[in-house]
Assembly symmetry: C2
Homo-oligomer: 312 residues x 2
C-alpha cells in the first residue's frame, strides 16, 4: 500500500463521503498546553469514519462481485457503514448481528437498507452465519478493520487533515480493531512531515499495547470499557502496519475517558462517542511530552445513546 | 443601520470572532422535506452568537470610555460574552449577577476575567446595581439585546451564512430579547435575495408573537420554558426592526423543543442549547409550508449543563 494507492483511494471515495470539518478550541489548547486540530469524523456520513473504508472496499469489487452483494458481522458502526456504502453504490449488504443487539442499532442498519440476519451472541455463531451467507448468496465478506481496502479508506481522514495542516508533530488516534490507526499511520507516513502517530487505548482492552510489547497479536481477557467501539482486536493485515509505523500506545482509565469526553462535549460542543475521547485522554495523560506541539486528534464517531450518558 | 454599517461591523469584529461552520444533514433534510443549512454559533467563541454583538459594542466606544470599562446585568451567555470580548480588547467588564446564579456560570465569567457584583435575584436590584457601577466607575452600560451595536454584531452570523448560500428562501432564528432576530433580519434584507426571516418562540414566553399581533411590546406573565436563553423581552431598539422585517413568528411547545434538540444532537452531532432548538422546532412544526425550499437555521449557542439533559 504505497502513497499512490492512498491518493487513488481518496479520489475514488470522495463523492460518497463528507470532507469533515476540523475544529479547534482555545480553551482546550490552554488546558493541554498544545495546539490541537480535531478531525471530526463524528460529522461523517452515518456518524463515523467507518464510512470511508466501507465505500472503498465495495468500490474495489468487480461488477460480478457487486451484483452478489457484501456481508459483514458487526453490531456497531461498521454495520451501518457497510449498509449505507452499499446503498450508495446500489449493492446489497447482508449484516450479521446478534439477536440481542440494541433495537436502535438494528433500526439504523435497516434505515440504510441493510439486510439483517440474526444469530446467537458469540463470535463462532457470527462467523458461521456470515460464512453461510457467503456460500448461499455468493456475497463478498468484508472485515470491519482487518482488510487492506478498509485500512486505506480509514487513512483518508488523516490525509485530509494533513492536507490542511501539513506540519503536525503528531496525530492521535484511538485503537480498536486497528483499521483506523493503521490507515492513519500510512497517511502520516506519506503526507506528514516527520509526523508521528500515537494510539490511545483503554486499559480494559489493551491488546494493541501488549501486542506491540510482545511482537505478536494478543487477545483481551476482559472488555469492560465504556469505549464500546474499541473492544475488537488487531488482525494480521493491520498489525504489521501498526508495528512498523505507530510510535507508541498510551493507555487510559475509564475515568480519564469520561473526563476527556466531557471536555469534548462541553468545550468543543460536539456529540462524540467514548471511543473518540480515548485519543484526547491519551494526549492529556502525557501532555508534558507534547508541550507546545501541533497535534492532530481523530474524533472517530458520534453514534451514542443520549439516554445513557456518563455525565453527572 | 444601513447595509454599509453591517459590512463595517463585520470587518471590525472579524479578528475577534470565529467564522463558524455551516453543517448539513441528509437525514434531517429527508425528515423535514427541505434543504437546511445550520449556522453553528454553538462553535462561536464562548459558545454563543452573543460574542459578536459584545465585541462590536465595545469596539464602538471611545478610548476614554474603554478605559473606564463596561457593565451589564445578565446571568446567561451575554455575561460571558461581554467578559471575553472585554478581555480580548483589554477592557474591564463589570457583570451584575443574582447571588443565586449557578456556580458554573459565575466560574465561566470569572474565567474570562469578568468582575462580578452579586445582587438580589430581581430586575430592580440588577438595574440598581448596574446603575451604581455606571455612577461609581464611569463604566458604559451595554444591554444584551436592545442596543444597535449589539444588534448589528448579531447580524453578522446571518451575513456569513448568506455569503456562502446567497439564495436561501428563508432563515429561522430563535426569538428571546430580540437582538439576534433583529440583526438576522437586517442581514437577510441587505445580503439575501428576497430571503424571509421567521422566528421560533416557545409558547411559554411568546411576548414577541403577541407584540407583533398588538403592535406594542408585550410582557410575559410566566417563563416556564426549557429554553432559558429566551426568557428575556423585546426592547424599543429591536422591536421596530423585527416588526418591519420579520415575516412571522411560529410558536412551539416544550415537547417540540426537546424533540428538535434531540434531532440536532443525534443527527447533526452537535451540543446545542434548548434555545437553539426552538428555530428548528418552528420549521418542523410548519414544514409543509417550506417544502422543497432552501432554509437557513441559526444554532444560537451550546452552553448547556450536561448533567441536566432532557433526553430519556
Amino acid at each position: 500500500m504505497d502513497k499512490n494507492s492512498l491518493i487513488e483511494c481518496h479520489r475514488r471515495i470522495a463523492p460518497f463521503i463528507h470532507l469533515t470539518p476540523v475544529l479547534t478550541s482555545t480553551l482546550i489548547n490552554d488546558m493541554v498546553g498544545t495546539t490541537i486540530f480535531f478531525k471530526c469524523e463524528n460529522f461523517q456520513k452515518m456518524g463515523a469514519f467507518k464510512m470511508r473504508g466501507a465505500v472503498n472496499a465495495i468500490m474495489q469489487l468487480t461488477e460480478q462481485q457487486r451484483i452478489k452483494g457484501v456481508v459483514t458481522h458487526s453490531s456497531g458502526n461498521f454495520a451501518q457503514a457497510l449498509s449505507l456504502a452499499a446503498q450508495s453504490l446500489g449493492v446489497n449488504a447482508y449484516i450479521v448481528m446478534p439477536f440481542n443487539a440494541p433495537q436502535v442499532k438494528k433500526d439504523a442498519v435497516r434505515g440504510y437498507n441493510g439486510i439483517i440476519s440474526e444469530c446467537e451472541p458469540n463470535l463462532a455463531a457470527r462467523e458461521s452465519m456470515a460464512h453461510q451467507i457467503v456460500e448461499e448468496k455468493g456475497a463478498t465478506f468484508i472485515h470491519p478493520s482487518n482488510d487492506n481496502d478498509v485500512i486505506l479508506g480509514q487513512g483518508t481522514a488523516c490525509k485530509e487533515l494533513l492536507e490542511i495542516y501539513p506540519d503536525l508533530d503528531c496525530v492521535f488516534s484511538p485503537v480498536g480493531g486497528g483499521g483506523l490507526i493503521a490507515g492513519t499511520a500510512l497517511a502520516a507516513k506519506y503526507f506528514g512531515n516527520d509526523c508521528k502517530v500515537i494510539g490511545g487505548e483503554p486499559f480494559e482492552v489493551d491488546d494493541a499495547y501488549r501486542s506491540l510489547q510482545s511482537g505478536v497479536i494478543e487477545t483481551n481477557a476482559t472488555a469492560n470499557t465504556i469505549a464500546d467501539g474499541l473492544k475488537t482486536q488487531l488482525g494480521d493485515k493491520n498489525f504489521p502496519i501498526i508495528r512498523q509505523n505507530v510510535e507508541r500506545i498510551i493507555r487510559v482509565t475509564e475515568q480519564e475517558i469520561i473526563q476527556a469526553m466531557q471536555i469534548l462535549w462541553e468545550r468543543l460542543k460536539i456529540v462524540c462517542e467514548p471511543s473518540s475521547a480515548v485519543a484526547l485522554a491519551a494526549l492529556i495523560k502525557e501532555k508534558e511530552h507534547f508541550s507546545g506541539q501541533k497535534i492532530g486528534v481523530i474524533i472517530s464517531g458520534g453514534n451514542v445513546d443520549l439516554a445513557k450518558l456518563p455525565f453527572r
